[in-house]
Symmetry: C2
Subunit: 210 residues, 2 copies
């Protein structure tokens, strides 16, 4: 497989291809054309061929793509065959929702710890995992070999907690707060940006109904 710099917009389309291939595999479809993938994803067929070409292309003209093979290749590109130990920081409603979120395991994220600073929550169990005190963050991250933190604390605490996580040696933060985190380049931050998504919805409503 070639290794070259791929644009972020291409990267962000890959998960959707992967999910659609999962669906196809589930219903025992073994072969798919770029046109069929287009119908499923909403991206154009030429866009899809171009995207997949970035990774050496896996299709054959007149045949299309082998579903199982393409899914396996995309899974490898997306790093889904590795397992990453993960902690959730912030055991409120959002943290609890994430702890129960089934998509985690599929993506290779294994929740091994849940942290909170609230004494009333520490010691309770969420999705079978006991909530531990944030004071033990560094020790937990080292002992349990945790690579990823899911950040679900309040906006006002987000930056401080992100810095603590970096000091504790975390490699990646999945940021579900509305704060823009300022951490060093050593830490990968993936923002979910619920608020930006809402603002975007608001834009489209105004566009459509005005």
């Amino acid at each position: 497989m070639q290794k070259k710099k791929i644009s972020i917009t291409v990267i962000r389309r890959l998960p959707k291809y992967y999910r659609k291939l999962e669906d196809l595999e589930r219903i025992k479809i073994s072969r798919v054309s770029s046109q069929e993938l287009s119908d499923l994803t909403g991206f154009t067929a030429s866009q899809i061929r171009q995207d997949l070409n970035n990774f050496g292309g896996f299709g054959l003209q007149g045949y299309g793509y082998n579903v199982k093979e393409l899914k396996s290749n995309l899974g490898e590109i997306l790093g889904l065959n590795s397992v990453h130990n993960t902690c959730i920081v912030g055991a409120g409603n959002l943290g609890s929702a994430i702890a129960n979120f089934k998509g985690f395991e599929d993506a290779g994220f294994k929740i091994v710890a849940i942290l909170d600073s609230d004494k009333d929550i520490i010691g309770k169990k969420i999705s079978g995992i006991k909530v531990e005190s944030s004071d033990n963050m560094e020790k937990l991250i080292k002992d349990k070999d945790i690579e990823i933190a899911v950040l679900t604390v309040s906006k006002k605490n987000a930056q401080d907690v992100a810095e603590e996580l970096e000091e504790a040696g975390i490699k990646s933060i999945w940021n579900l707060t509305t704060a823009d985190l300022d951490v060093s380049e050593n830490v990968i931050v993936e923002d979910v940006s619920l608020k930006d998504s809402l603002f975007t919805l608001s834009y489209f409503m105004r566009e459509k109904h005005n």
Copy 2:
């Protein structure tokens, strides 16, 4: 203000500008250059000028942008001055997290109802709002003039519930499930795609640490 077709990638940058302008206004900064906006947002200064030009541009060379004015203009573009009555469908952890999510009011989304089909949850209060039975969906949407549904049901129920919502006259769905919804063009769907975001994080971890 000009009205022309703006690309979705531009639209998706607008919320970040808006949030940064909110922050600047909060600390009483009245003027900002595209270079300063670049430092705050991570987009290039020329990108920013180009983006804002799409909307008639609001900057003056050598002066930059008036924070209050630009924020107000972007807020108008994003439709943030209108209030949309909103219901949450699915009162589990994720639905509860959303009901308590502060970003909602800022974006002009007013939660006026929470629906669930589970008898054990119906009648309970979440964030001060009583959970009602999904059986009353159509009546509630009409009586309370609800435009938007936040979908937080399970993946397997998502499509059915989306169809019910469309029949009940909903205009927009903020989709927090991992299902890709198939509804008519009359309904605006904004996907949050937690799973795609996780897959993307997985990609970057593989890229960086391999």
